[in-house]
Amino acid sequence: MITKRIIPCLDVRDGMVVKGIQFKNHKIVGSIVSLANKYSDEGADELVFYDIGASTIGSTLKKEWVSKIADVINIPFCVAGGIKSVDDARDILNLGADKVSINTPALQDPSLISALSKEFGSQCVVIGMDVKTIDEKSYLFAKTGSEKTSHQTNIIASDWIKKVQNLGAGEVVINSMNKDGMKNGYDIELLQDLSNVCKIPMIASGGAGSTKDFVDVFTNTNVDGALAASIFHNNEYSINQVKTSLKGNKINVRI
């Protein structure tokens, strides 16, 4: 059967990889191509590049770096940030990306999801969801790339999953805003809850701090992959260490 995926996430701003805590205070961690190469060599199953500046300032994604990545790595990668139209997505895919992830533009115009799916196939269409649990209800947030623009919507996360999968999305990435950058484990409760309604691949994001957190998320939820940033960027653990630990716990991974 298909293996569980380990996915390093590289937040990109102004052409560099950055990392913040709970979506704030971003610091530069390295260059895009060198980190992409490193993770690919270490056995990452896939990479996600999140252009966190793009959607908040309304700019079109600066695209050269996408083709630079495609030229050096031979594992799948997804590009997110600032993709607002079928034409935007076509540009990114033609530069060598395998998938595009859309977040705020999908909230503003859900028909974009079906348009993308029809044009490129559902396997290209990932929906990023920034979710915060407030008084036991899980709400979607929009424009989270900057603390100035980030705001709560009235959309409940499980309702949104049902909607996007009907519109032809091929995957969802669940970013837990409560857990992001905290390094004390994935949001197991949220992911269990959302797994109940999700019929397309689901990726956990936010909260990885140790190999145990990966074991926990795959043991206790039905997610297909786990995304992480700081644990890998800070060289606390290698991807191979994480996968070895997963394999030791009888979780099916590619080593």
Partner: protein, 192 residues
């Protein structure tokens, strides 16, 4: 050695091109009949949907050209699907080089699309030195037919490599399957 990558409108042309470039082979992305005919290898790199790829090939008058090719041809993902007679994706008539049809995954307990790295079991000795994990991204699949050269499991057994004469197809994306994919492409290019 020249590889003609048929421009059939998919979005993985660049990735396939780069994979071939890394193997130090000359390649050209083309829909030109004489370039396709004179190349030593041909790749059908379909991504998107079977009906779109078939429509594109039809509008470029490439259907009969592809069917008559004598050099090794590799169809990737949708490029493999269209080698068969029919695909349930858009109820598309395909090239009919290989007998059989492409079916949609229809198991309510499975997530669709299949997305990620799955194990591939090669059925023939000459393929058994290849690596076992490859990257898949598909909602439609081929069941096991006589032409199946490798299988995978996604809730049920599926064909991951098929072959008839000089036509080979792989369900996975070798251009995205790290070193395993490079080895697989090298194997294809060793067949002349």
């Amino acid at each position: 050695m020249t590889v003609a990558i048929i421009d059939c409108g998919g979005s993985n042309l660049r990735s396939v091109s780069m994979a071939i470039k890394r193997l130090d082979m000359d390649y050209i992305v083309t829909d030109d009949v004489s370039l396709i005919n004179s190349s030593e290898f041909v790749i059908l790199p379909g991504v998107g949907s079977a009906q779109n790829v078939m429509q594109t090939l039809k509008s470029k008058n490439l259907i009969e050209i592809i069917k008559s090719l004598k050099q090794p041809v590799l169809g990737i993902c949708i490029g493999m699907h269209i080698l068969f007679e029919f695909s349930e994706e858009g109820n598309s008539q395909c090239l009919g080089i290989i007998k059989g049809k492409i079916t949609r995954f229809n198991n309510k307990n499975l997530k669709i699309p299949q997305m990620g790295w799955n194990k591939v079991l090669f059925l023939e000795d000459e393929l058994k030195n290849l690596d076992n994990y490859y990257y898949f991204a598909n909602s439609f699949y081929s069941q096991i037919y006589q032409c199946t050269k490798a299988t995978s499991n996604y809730g049920l057994p599926i064909a991951s490599v098929v072959q008839k004469d000089n036509f080979m197809g792989c369900q996975f994306h070798p251009e995205k399957s790290a070193n395993a994919g490079i080895k697989f492409l090298k194997y294809f290019f060793s067949k002349r």
